[in-house]
């Protein structure tokens, strides 16, 4: 499975949830597959989806799902110790680990070589780390939401992108409707 197929698969689970989505093609795919006010699309700043998601989870009680990529987590690897040491049980970090930098031409990441993020996260102190296939992501995500414990999901899948339009929504509109959904 590639990322867009996984997003299509889990879209019903994401419905109504607060979702912070990684920059580039992941956000474009989520926007095309299941746009909703409670999606926060990152238009810039590679690597910070997990940090934005954690800050959001620590500041309000609703469940927060940050959808990140292996390349973006490697860019901001310091995020994993911060997540581990500031536990928010309403926080789920879903790493779509396809071993490549999808938005820039599918160059390989180190996660697609020797580095195993499912080993890195526990080494950083993260308590609930689940590794799964693309096919099992929906089941694992549902269980994480129901479990009420901070969870890091490393979803191992194939490299590849769906061709989706660039997001043209104004960033302030994205932020404003997202904050409305947080408050609702």
């Amino acid at each position: 499975m590639i990322r867009s197929e996984i997003l299509r698969d889990i879209a019903p689970i994401l419905d109504g949830q607060l979702v912070v989505c990684n920059i580039g093609i992941p956000s474009q795919e989520l926007h095309a597959i299941h746009d909703q006010a409670s999606n926060f699309y990152m238009l810039g700043t590679m690597g910070l989806a997990s940090s934005i998601g954690l800050g959001l989870a620590l500041s309000q009680p609703k469940t927060v799902i940050a959808i990140d990529g292996d390349g973006s987590v490697l860019t901001n690897l310091g995020t994993l110790p911060t997540i581990a040491n500031n536990v928010a049980d309403n926080y789920i970090l879903l790493i779509i680990d396809n071993g490549s930098y999808g938005s820039t031409g599918d160059q390989p990441t180190y996660a697609g070589m020797k580095t195993r993020l499912e080993d890195v996260a526990p080494a950083c102190g993260c308590a609930n780390v689940v590794s799964c296939t693309g096919e099992d992501t929906g089941y694992v995500l549902k269980a994480a939401i129901a479990g009420g414990q901070q969870t890091v999901i490393v979803c191992k899948c194939d490299s590849g992108n769906a061709k989706m339009p660039v997001i043209t929504m104004d960033p302030v509109t994205i932020r404003d409707r997202f904050m409305g959904a947080v408050k609702a």
């Binding site: 910070l48 940090s51 800050g55 500041s59 310091g78 932020r175």
Partner: protein
Amino acid sequence: MNISQRLVADFVANDVGFITTVPCKQLAGVIDAVEAHDAIRHVPANKEDEGMGLCAGAFMGGTRSAIIMQNTAIGVTINTLVTLIQYYRMPLPMLISYRGELREPVACQAEMAVHTKALLAQLNVPTYHFHKTADADEFDAILKYTFMCNKPVAILTDASFWGGYGE
């Protein structure tokens, strides 16, 4: 109340409830005061751009946030300031130790100090410089200004403001 506690009291009076910090010897007292205050969630960050991401999330969660860092971080965070904080119009007070100014003992700090104000000006970041203790009297107004205009705002605090390096 010492100067660190005064600054933190101003944060609290302006409903700042989430502060992320990256360590600095000059700011150690403020960071301790942040950690000690019950009304503030203190989340130390490993790098300043990560800290700004945390602040952006906290703000969207309904909690006013702020970052405490060194001026070297301006070099680290330009992309985050521009494409996250400014692009999405988020308020972010940045309490910054202005290393490399008068009384600085470490020569390398001067290299970033000479670029600090120029970079902030280039980014159109409103910038205030605390040199004397009385300058902190404006901190409350600066925080109100930041949350009024939804911009990142820099407060540079130099060695003279903090009483030097114990030389």
